[in-house]
Amino acid sequence: MVNPIFSVEIIISNKPRARDPEGETIIRDLMHKSGFESIKEVRTGKLLSIRIEATNEADARDKVVAMCNDLRIYNPVAHSLNVRVRPGN
């Protein structure tokens, strides 16, 4: 049986305690200066959009998280990892 393919998004961003100067610049010098005062915070990150073969959504997530830890796709000292799985290709 061929396993289905799942789309998984990995988002790596600085932990709240690690300053994100790019996000700070975007909110200060672009959004607030342009009048979008209602924006209270901007955090930037890196998105890896991948496709993976797995038996189900939970399996897809487990495989991706294990790989992220194994290859140190994020630095746990400074980054948080957010993994989102959706079915389909």
């Binding site: 600085n14 305690r17 690690a18 300053r19 100067p21 790019e22 610049t25 890196k46 290859l71 140190r72 796709i73 630095n75 000292v77 400074a78 980054h79």
Partner: protein
């Protein structure tokens, strides 16, 4: 003394480092392509640059290279291991040094001479320098803001593992002015400043020589 300078795709100042070791210090220094780290060496230097285009994160791809495997073994054997700039980033990503090196708070690539204070001289790369003395070396990087949580920073301070701090200014927003740290045994040092760019009067300074001279001293002990 046989020293390997590892060359990754995108390394720079690798030849400068070999030049200093070979021509100024008269050591048997070799430039070694990262996939061809096969011989035994007494010490190793991971040079600066932008290994693998800094893709994903500076240093992370090189941290998985065959050369880094050999570096890990040398570190465990107590041999001197120096990471300069991108080399420091590689040592962090390889888990040989703690913490993280994040993008400078200035959001700028900072390329300038800096004043540093040597905070620890019980390391393989500062043992020939008096503790507390000031040295001058250039930095040139975009991701050199050392980051760790406060408890970890306290532990590093207490253990005397913060090797160098910037003085007069904090050019990158780095935690507690940190420019260089070491492992517990002091044989592995990562530093953002470039000693090889400060090892010839023609380049504007010679303080970097002390880093490499320390390596020689260390191996004699």
């Amino acid at each position: 003394m046989k020293v390997a300078v590892v060359q990754f795709p995108g390394s720079n100042c690798d030849r400068d480092t070999v030049h200093v070791l070979k021509n100024s210090l008269k050591l048997d220094a070799k430039l070694i392509w990262h996939n061809e780290f096969n011989e035994a060496y007494d010490a190793v230097v991971l040079p600066g640059g932008f290994s693998f285009g800094d893709h994903l994160r500076a240093g992370i791809i090189a941290a998985h290279s065959p050369a880094t495997k050999a570096v890990r073994k040398m570190a465990a054997e107590g041999k001197p291991v120096l990471g300069i700039c991108n080399g420091f980033q590689i040592l962090i990503e390889a888990g040989l040094l703690p913490g993280a090196l994040l993008r400078n708070t200035t959001l700028k690539f900072v390329c300038k001479w800096t004043n540093l204070q040597v905070e620890a001289n019980n390391t393989a790369f500062t043992c020939a320098i008096e503790k507390g003395s000031k040295v001058r070396m250039p930095i040139a990087h975009n991701e050199g803001r050392y980051f760790a949580d406060d408890e970890q920073l306290d532990r590093l301070e207490t253990a005397g593992r913060i090797v160098m701090k910037y003085v007069d200014e904090n050019p990158t927003g780095t935690s507690r002015g940190i420019a260089a740290i070491s492992n517990e045994d002091g044989n592995v040092v990562g530093m953002m400043p470039h000693p090889e760019r400060a090892s010839d009067p023609a380049l504007g300074g010679v303080d970097g020589m002390k880093i490499f001279e320390s390596m020689l001293e260390w191996t004699k002990c």
